[in-house]
Symmetry: C2
Subunit: 294 residues, 2 copies
DNA sequence: CCCAGTTATCGTATGGGCTACGGAAACTCT
DNA sequence: AGAGTTTCCGTAGCCCATACGATAACTGGG
């Protein structure tokens, strides 16, 4: 299940998230045996193999060869540790930055984002255990937002953010499922097929054909022949394609040449409410405003 | 974070999930003071107000006026209790069944599903804490599958299930976010807007404009003026619309009258080419495994 | 009416989790 | 050498799930 820990103090977590920007260290006092990076890396390593719950303060400390309470000099609490782990992994995708080369047209760039994100959740399935609303506002998370937005330059600004949030939401949802699968596979030592097979008695003993005609019909027509994993992959591919198809209709450079049937959809795509930007003066106003990721 | 408990024994959990079909009770021995329904209801009530973690065995028992260990006569472990809670709530949407009246054309029926699901996650935000892969195979979950499939009768069988899984995946993802929001709002006593406002120093102190030109540009253009909750709502509306638009193209009764530009998209929808090449490669690593949500 | 059989109740104990607190240790600088 | 500062970490308190075994409460048979 998804962990919800306490709220974190921005004055403590933000400097930690952006710790690589501030390199000043204390010159006095007992020198530290570890670094925050060490703690984060240990947490990730444990979570990768045994799940987020296994990355307890005690176990992270043991892996680093220190006492449990020692960790609290590096990290205010386990909540912050998890946030740091998440942002670290998010940044680990190494999505192309502002000056970097891009893999072709915008759709391929989105596909790169999707591929990397899927791979990230496969490598770090415990990400699925962490909520991504009110995400860690660190470099890793911001890099994601920047990349996705940068691929949508051809979408009118009034609709660009909605498009980005939609893509991120869908991709994250699919990746999260993938991560949950990996997690369950490891924890149960059982594949999805095995899990379903073990529950075959459901159909013989409990399933009521009368109550489920649509399922029964589709079953008889072979509509469930593809296994659960393939179904999920199909759904991900289809959903992403349809979303990108729809977004491409919003792109400035294509609107003109499309048939009326499609332009009809275009209207009100983001609703009237999206189209009235009360323009903000400068980026200095940024304080106090909200933006969001997903 | 998402809870992952141990694997449950189908021989124990299936009879519990379908307990209302089998009404025979023991005639001998000490009569029970409670019922499984009582325990499930107590768990839901506590989780509704204080989150899933608060629905501990001790607290559920206390609410029912019995000792903690007493619960274990009704439920094998907390894992099963949570599964029962989930299926109960899933069924609580009371989606129209086989004979029941439907609210108009298929799109409206999907919208009903989406609305009810959103409402369910708002009323029971702890659902967001529970993984929905390898879901409880009870009446509540099966009713959902049946309903969604029943709305897609006009989609060719070869593509129907993929369409259903895609819709469920997207709607569930959006609803889950909504639930996480509700949860965080209550746990932190802080709205989303307040949370972002409290982190205004991010932009002044840590945000690097050079590294994030696309975000900066969009910010200056007013692209982030809508608050986080509105952004999420916009994304949900857009994503669902685009997915349904795409699926409607697959419907038998509409294919004929659509322009070629759209029919081009139609091809390969359920086919082998569904997965993007690079993605498929990565996926084979995971071979042998997962099914998903739905 | 009593007792065997059966089922439900629940007290205790074990082992895990997070972290507040406060003292000890290790370093620099004067 | 001593003061100041920072890190290290042992103890203890409070939460959790649940294995085990004793006890309570009921039914049906004699």
């Amino acid at each position: 299940m998804t962990e919800f820990s306490g709220a974190t103090d921005p004055d403590r977590i933000l400097p930690l998230l952006w710790r690589h920007r501030t390199a000043r260290k204390a010159t006095t006092g007992r020198p530290p045996r570890l670094s925050v990076d060490d703690v984060v890396a240990a947490g990730i390593a444990i979570a990768d193999t045994d799940g987020l719950a296994a990355a307890s303060m005690a176990r992270v400390a043991a892996r680093l060869g220190v006492a449990t309470m020692t960790l609290y000099t590096y990290v205010p609490s386990r909540t912050e540790l998890v946030e740091l782990m998440v942002d670290d992994v998010l940044g680990g995708r190494r999505l192309p930055g502002p000056g970097d080369e891009r893999p072709g047209p915008w759709r391929d760039q989105i596909q790169l984002y999707a591929d990397r994100t899927l791979a990230m959740y496969r490598a770090h399935p415990w990400l699925s255990e962490v909520s991504r609303v009110r995400p860690p506002l660190g470099p890793g998370m911001l890099r994601e937002s920047e990349y996705v937005l940068s691929t949508l330059g051809a979408v009118p600004v009034a609709r660009r953010n909605t498009a980005a949030v939609t893509i991120v939401m869908f991709v994250t949802a699919a990746a999260r499922q993938e991560g949950e699968n990996a997690q369950l596979r490891r924890a149960s030592g059982q594949s999805n097929d095995a899990w379903w097979g073990q529950r075959g008695q459901l159909w013989e003993q409990w399933f009521d054909v009368e109550q489920h005609p649509a399922m029964t019909e589709l079953w008889n027509a072979g509509g469930f022949d593809r296994g659960p994993d393939q179904q999920a992959a199909d759904a991900f591919a289809l959903g992403l394609r349809l979303i990108l198809d729809g977004i491409s209709v919003q792109r400035d450079d294509r609107v003109a040449q499309l048939p009326d049937a499609l332009n009809a959809h275009r209207d009100g795509l983001a609703g009237d409410d999206l189209a009235h930007p009360s323009r903000r003066a400068g980026q200095d106003d940024v304080a106090g405003q909200q933006r969001h990721d997903m």
